[in-house]
């Protein structure tokens, strides 16, 4: 019990019960229709309100009873949206119900194939889909079951055709990739309606095993020259070359050193990169990777490339200026030529008390020169050692 509330007097309805609402079961979209509400005892002039609940909401019309009949002329503009329309007629407290289905018309241009994704791997396993939502002249999706023809031209030129029916407003099919990389073109027709084509790019799949080569392969370890690293043509398991611009990373590892990563891009399935010769002789291991696939390892041996053999070392003291000059050379490479200018000579001085001094000197014209101040050195006997590549020079001198 929640107490009493005053109840407003309800207007006495002059009509109650059921109205006979006559409507066709179905019409075509855009077709005018006449709906009739009948009730023999309805007074003339009584207004009937007709609510037509369609796909996008209710639409209302009003008409008076005349001789027990109210007629609603629904114009073509009000029947353009397809779908189920629930009709409810109200007159005073009387009500009538019916249902009307508005069927969509025939498909019209354009029927656009919507293909996705834009590219798939051409491995016969990956797939894309083509979806078509054909519509009639009023923009309604066409009727369920409407057949659509899909036509496909594969990258190798072979044609395919299949059909699909409209279900839940659209028609769709899977398009499995072929094993030929390239462009697959798709078009779709619905009856006499046509549309533009769409493309599905079939790209090469994962690369197969590949190897590397180096040119030249016998550079000295001079820290100066470059080796050209090159992959073999890289293809997937079906022989499709990697797309131009595919990123490849060359990884060069020297014993005890940091790996060097050299990016490169494929052109015609081949990627190239330049590797600078190390300063130290040894073997460099090079691999290339793309998409997680690694090439076979390539071993490049860099032979000793700087000065070789023993070379003379001259020490002279200039008492006037108080300086001491150390001249190393001529420094010769394997072919008897001067080592490249700028090559660093590692000079080690061992003093009379065992103290070690490290110095560097750049070569110029096959000679490396180092000038020391006499005052920097204590008196006594010194040993001097020079290392350049595999070449060694050494001598002793005394500082008075």
């Amino acid at each position: 019990m929640t107490g009493c509330t005053r109840t407003l007097a309800q207007p006495t309805p002059t009509l109650s019960g059921t109205l006979n609402l006559r409507a066709p079961a179905a019409i075509a979209a855009g077709q005018p229709v006449t709906l009739v509400v009948e009730r023999s005892d309805a007074p003339d002039g009584m207004i009937v309100t007709l609510v037509m609940e369609g796909s996008y909401g209710p639409l209302l019309s009003r008409a008076p009873f005349q001789a027990g009949r109210a007629e609603f002329q629904i114009p073509a503009t009000d029947t353009q949206v397809a779908g189920l329309v629930t009709l409810v007629a109200h007159a005073a407290a009387a009500e009538g119900r019916a249902e009307l289905t508005i069927n969509p018309g025939q498909p019209v241009d354009p029927v656009t194939p919507l293909v996705g994704p834009h590219s798939v791997i051409a491995d016969g396993a990956h797939w894309g889909s083509v979806v078509a939502i054909p519509f009639d002249s009023f923009g309604n999706p066409v009727a369920e079951g409407t057949p659509l023809q899909f036509r496909i031209r594969r990258p190798d030129g072979s044609p395919e055709t299949f059909s699909a029916s409209v279900t839940h407003l659209l028609a769709w099919r899977r398009i499995s990739s072929s094993t030929h990389a390239g462009r697959t073109t798709i078009s779709v027709t619905a009856g006499d309606a046509h549309g533009p084509d769409a493309n599905l790019i079939e790209t090469p799949g994962w690369p197969g095993p590949f190897s590397l080569n180096a040119s030249p392969s016998n550079l000295p370890a001079d820290g100066r020259q470059f080796v050209t690293l090159r992959t073999d043509p890289i293809t997937d398991v079906y022989g499709n070359q990697m797309l131009d611009g595919t990123l490849i990373t060359f990884v060069a590892e020297t014993p005890g050193g940091q790996p060097r990563l050299i990016p490169a891009y494929t052109i015609d399935g081949v990627a190239e990169a330049q590797l600078q010769a190390p300063s130290e002789p040894g073997t460099v291991t090079v691999r290339a990777t793309l998409y997680g696939v690694e090439s076979t390892a390539l071993l490049i041996v860099f032979a000793p490339g700087l000065a070789v053999g023993a070379f003379p070392v001259t020490v002279s003291i200039d008492h006037a200026t108080g300086t001491m000059s150390i001249v190393v050379g001529p420094l010769l490479a394997a072919l008897g030529q001067f080592v490249p200018n700028g090559t660093l000579a590692q000079i080690t001085l061992i003093g009379p008390d065992g103290t070690t001094y490290q110095r560097e000197a750049e070569t110029l014209g096959g000679l490396a020169r180092l000038t020391l101040r006499r005052s920097e050195l204590v008196s006594g006997n010194y040993q001097i050692k020079i290392d350049i590549g595999t070449g060694v020079g050494q001598t002793n001198f005394s500082v008075p």
Partner: protein, 579 residues
Amino acid sequence: MQKTHLKLIIWALLLALTLAGAWVVVSGSANLLASFERGAEPASALNIVPNVPPDLHVALSWAADDADSGRQIDPLTRSQIESVYIRAWLQINLSYQKGEPHGLTTYFTGPSLAEVSAAVRRTHSDGFSIEQADTAHHLQLHLSSAEGSIVAFTDHDATVVHVIRDAKGTIISVEETRADYDVVMLLENGLWHVRHWVRRAATEADNRPIAPACPGCARVDGTGLRVDGTPFAVAGINYYPQATPWDTFWPQYDPAVIDRDLSRIKGLGLNTIRIFVPYEQFGGPHVDPIMRDRLSDLLDRAEAQNLKLIVTLFDFRGDYSLLHWADADRQLETLLTYFAGHPAILAWDLKNEPDLDDARVGGQIVDTWLRHIALLARSYDPNHILTIGWSSPTAAVRLVGQVDMVQFHYYAPVAELATGYVALRHAAPDKPLLLGEFGLPTWNTVFPNGHTEAEQATYYAALLSRLQHLDPSTGHLAWTLYDFARVPATVAGRWPWQTGPQAYLGIIRTDGSEKPAAALLAPGANLTIAPLPIWARLLKPFWLLMLGATLVEIVGLAWAFDREIRKRRGAAAPMHPHP
């Protein structure tokens, strides 16, 4: 010496004031600085929009996807589609409410945007206004395209309700419709948009929850009820604890009081109680688990004492606005699915006296909402009986087809019962009827319409006798078990003549003793009561006051009359000359 003391005191006071001032300055400055340092919540910078508006409680569920629905859809995409779809409906509803397309471009594209915008404009230009709300969607995915930018799904059995009014505001139509919607959505500029939707005949999605069995639940058998195969005649009472009625019942729920009261009800020979679930106190759409557990506790205790309960839902919920229907749905769903297997529940009473909302809301809207709730209730809990607590037999004729047991309340003279009852039985020839409330207050004061406890007993006996004579299978529940010391103003008002009768409708007095009517409610109770002499009906404070007032008035009038006569006589007497 005294002067020195005074100086010291003054100095001490000055020092204390200085310290207090310094403390105020320092703490104030610190708080000010801290306030400047705090700034906004870092999370607020992200402006994370909830999937659906937090106050929107429209049901949305997914049935199993089609066997071949293309790309396997990921949970995030699915939630984005849900969000856009449910917001699209909301935006249509808001557009209808505004009378113009509002925010539709965010959710619709292509033909659907044009059509829905045109429909909204057309309604407005035709001079109609539409209030519309969707309450439930059951989606089934048919396609997610390979690149994930096209989805197609069917919204099965989508429930949409609308109220159409003419330019004067008169309701033309209140309809709840159910239909399927085939929907195509496209991902455009990173957002999903509805491109097409087409309405079709409703089909049920295959994802409805299965309610647990309830072998001990009451069943309808013709015009009667059965529990465990045995005929069950409802003889009961509407119940609030004496110290905590109405709005204080659930917040101050006390299991010990419940046990004591249930024992007492059982002792009176009754088998059923009717209770009320206040919508807001139970958390609205988000049912408070504490309240739910209290209801569960009450049901368990009733079950232990072999008592049945009629649980009245949505008490004190007067909001019928369409956009909030889904809120009520969620409370219904939570409670009914939770208690679907509880044998102590005799029936779900969907609303107490909803016809009293007709004047404020409109009877069509009330009826449509009740139909909606009844349909949902059956899907959430097919085990229990449904009823609606109409305020009179006349009102109970409404929605007979939607309930299992037709309930009416009766506070009118006994002599008028037969007319309403016969009409109701005619409207519901094959359903049990239940007198869900009846009573006579024993508030007997100087205000008119007071009744004595003897009159209450006489009324109960006469009413129940009449009811048995009309239909022995009709159950009954009196209002209420207790007299109350306090009645909230929200129940009946705040004036004494409003709260007084409400407080004294019980069959047990505030001191805990039973009124004579308490012995009349049990099945088979002796309803023969000696008729009250007429003078007994007059021996009431009001009539005694009236009598007293009348006597005083008569005496007063007589005195005034006598005085006037004397005055006139005095005026008419001849003047005697002075000797």
